[in-house]
């Protein structure tokens, strides 16, 4: 015993000392993680079952009433429709355009870098400022978009039904038109996001081995499409999984453009009333914390679900 007591304490204390410093080093991060990320999730979960408002001292438990409301009121039906329309439109388009641009630019060599720079500009720019610029572009009377469309009047292009209708009557109001509003928002979302995906794909493409293309050619893949299908697309699998997930998460969070265009109410006929805007309007502006928390919880469920699918795909299959 005496021997053990003289030997082990040195080792143990060195180890415990390291253990202690390690905890000291992680403590601030750990504390903040709990306080800023985990506690709010729990709070949102709890408050979503109450009718709490800021400024009230007490609150009542209302059971699942807030959630029932989310799934029964037409306002929230519009919210889900707007959010999913946006996600389902923006994700495939921005991923597809990102991939297309990356393939084109990659095949051009050094000249392609210029396009890369240009396509990346919207990713860097303050979205709110660009939303305001788009608002001017889409202005029904002085905007550049309708000006450009008007130029096509009287030319051969007028055989396109959309232009024919516009030239005969008037061009759309865009942001003021409930049939177009959500699509305009989607368009700006794609405009802003596809450059980001392009850059990720360009990084992915540098990882595709040249020999694979040679091998595919020897195996009879002559056309560019065959080579893409057999080599490029599978090799980009991990990139695609990542790009799709991050595009989804970003798409779910759309807010800036909508708040800039319609500070009140989420667009004509609530056609662009997305979830982030609903959380902001209900929870912060109208102080209906219960319902806002319920939307927050649903939002978190969607986002976590997406990320878990991504991790599952990454671990399971997409490594070639």
């Amino acid at each position: 015993m005496a021997v053990a007591e003289t030997h082990t304490p040195v080792i143990v204390s060195a180890e415990t000392a390291q253990c202690r410093t390690a905890w000291w080093l992680t403590a601030p991060a750990l504390g903040l993680m709990v306080l800023i990320l985990l506690v709010p999730v729990v709070i949102a979960g709890i408050l979503s079952f109450t009718d709490y408002s800021l400024g009230n001292d007490t609150f009542n438990w209302v059971g699942a009433k807030n959630y029932e409301r989310l799934f029964s009121r037409s306002t929230y039906e519009k919210m889900f429709i707007a959010t999913f329309t946006y996600v389902v439109t923006v994700v495939p388009l921005s991923v597809g355009l990102g991939l297309g641009a990356a393939l084109l630019i990659n095949s051009l060599g050094r000249i392609g870098d210029l396009y890369k720079t240009i396509f990346f500009l919207p990713v860097m720019a303050t979205l709110l400022a660009m939303a305001i610029a788009w608002e001017f572009m889409l202005h029904p009377s002085i905007g550049m978009v309708n000006h450009t469309l008007k130029m096509s009047c009287g030319t051969i292009l007028e055989i396109i039904p959309f232009l024919k209708k516009g030239c005969g009557d008037r061009f759309p109001l865009w942001l003021g038109d409930r049939d177009y509003a959500i699509w305009v928002i989607c368009f700006i979302g794609v405009w802003q996001g596809f450059g980001f995906n392009m850059v990720l794909y360009l990084a992915g493409l540098t990882g595709v081995h040249r020999e694979l293309y040679h091998a595919a050619e020897i195996d009879g893949a002559k056309s560019g499409w065959e080579r893409f299908r057999l080599v490029t697309w599978p090799a980009l699998g991990p990139t695609t999984v990542f790009v799709v997930t991050i595009s989804c998460i970003r798409a779910f969070q759309v807010f800036d453009t909508i708040e800039a265009f319609w500070p009140q109410g989420g667009g004509p006929n609530k056609s662009t009333y997305v979830m982030m805007f609903a959380i902001f309007e209900k929870g912060v502006q109208q102080n209906l914390i219960g319902i806002g928390s319920a939307i927050t919880v649903l939002f978190l469920v969607f986002v976590m679900f997406l990320t878990l699918i991504q991790r599952w795909l990454v671990e399971r299959k997409v490594h070639y």
Binding site: Q18, C19, I36, A44, F120, V123, T126, M144, I289, T296
Partner: protein, 320 residues
């Protein structure tokens, strides 16, 4: 070359759409209200002298002014003196549209203050993120301690939670401790970057243990090792992370919109621009676009100067 022609055509078309709102934003910031309304003047506008109506109105001479100016205009009636004074005011209030737009951008709203706030907020966020994340990342990568696996799984779990999504409970917490409408409210939710911890940990894993052991031999404590050995090796990763962080928070609109209400002294650049839009009447398109240009320019210029680094930084999240 001819085979590449169609590629260039597609890419140029895309580039035009991407550039269009930037072109318009900068162009409007040069033009006079009349030119904007009528959609003329090309890119720079004609830069003819224009009269600032508000400036003239402000200098509208009253009885005292007329009396005070009487010695300068001997032998003239009061109304003649008045007319002369108005003419003087008009002459003094003449300026080029570009000067008008940019000077209005800085004088109508405290734009410099907003820019300064933007710098303060983004810089503090980044510095605190580093101070918190770096030690934790080092401990997770290089120290063996009881509970390390648990801490790391917590980090992986927290990566699932987007801070914007839990904005409502965070807002409630800040409101409860009375921190809304402070710099702290703008900074606190971003102090913990789980992504930063994850990224730095991955980076530190590649640092050889010998380096750390050598430092320990020299009698350095673990804290000293983090800041004097690990930090210098991590500069490239930190730079990329800095760009990632600064771009995200300079451009962020959602969170400042929630926690800062009304208090102009705390406005970040996007909030300032938003306020400008809120009370903008028709003639203020030019100054507003000038504001937008001023806000967007710093990041765009930095991006153009250090493209490679920027793309690396922004797509960091793709390197998991």
């Amino acid at each position: 070359m001819t085979r590449d022609l169609w590629k260039h055509l597609i890419l140029i078309l895309g580039a035009l759409v991407v550039i269009a709102p930037f072109y318009m934003m900068v162009s409007y910031s040069f033009k006079s209200p009349g030119e904007i309304d009528r959609g003329e003047g090309g890119f720079f506008g004609r830069q003819e002298m224009m009269v600032d109506e508000r400036c003239v109105k402000l200098r509208d001479p009253n009885r005292d002014d007329v009396a005070a100016a009487a010695p300068r205009f001997p032998n003239q009636t009061d109304s003649q003196i008045r007319d002369a004074l108005v003419a003087e005011a008009v002459a003094d209030c003449q300026m080029r549209p570009i000067v008008f737009n940019y000077s209005k951008a800085f004088t109508e709203a405290p734009l410099l203050r907003y820019l300064l706030n933007g710098v303060i907020v983004t810089a503090s966020i980044f510095l605190i993120q580093i101070v918190v994340a770096l030690p934790a990342a080092y401990a997770l990568a290089k120290l063996k301690f009881w509970g390390r696996e648990a801490v790391f799984s917590l980090v992986l779990f927290c990566l699932l939670i987007p801070v914007h999504a839990i904005a409502l409970p965070l807002y409630i917490m800040l409101a409860k401790v009375g921190l809304t409408n402070t710099y702290a409210a703008l900074v606190v939710p971003w102090t913990i970057s789980v992504f930063g911890i994850f990224l730095m940990r991955q980076f530190f894993m590649t640092v050889p243990d010998d380096l750390i052991d050598a430092a320990r031999m020299d009698g350095m404590g673990e804290f000293a090792i983090v800041w004097r050995v690990m930090l210098p090796t991590a500069i490239p990763a930190l730079l990329a992370f800095a760009i990632f962080s600064v771009v995200a928070h300079w451009n962020d609109y959602f969170w400042p919109r929630i926690v800062v209400t009304g208090n102009r002294d705390l406005f970040t650049p996007p909030l300032g621009l938003r306020e400008f839009k809120g009370d903008g009447d028709g003639s203020f398109f030019g100054p507003m676009m000038a504001t937008a240009t001023v806000i967007v320019t710093p990041l765009i210029v930095a991006f153009l100067v250090a493209q490679r680094r920027f793309i690396e930084g922004i797509t960091l999240s793709g390197m998991k």
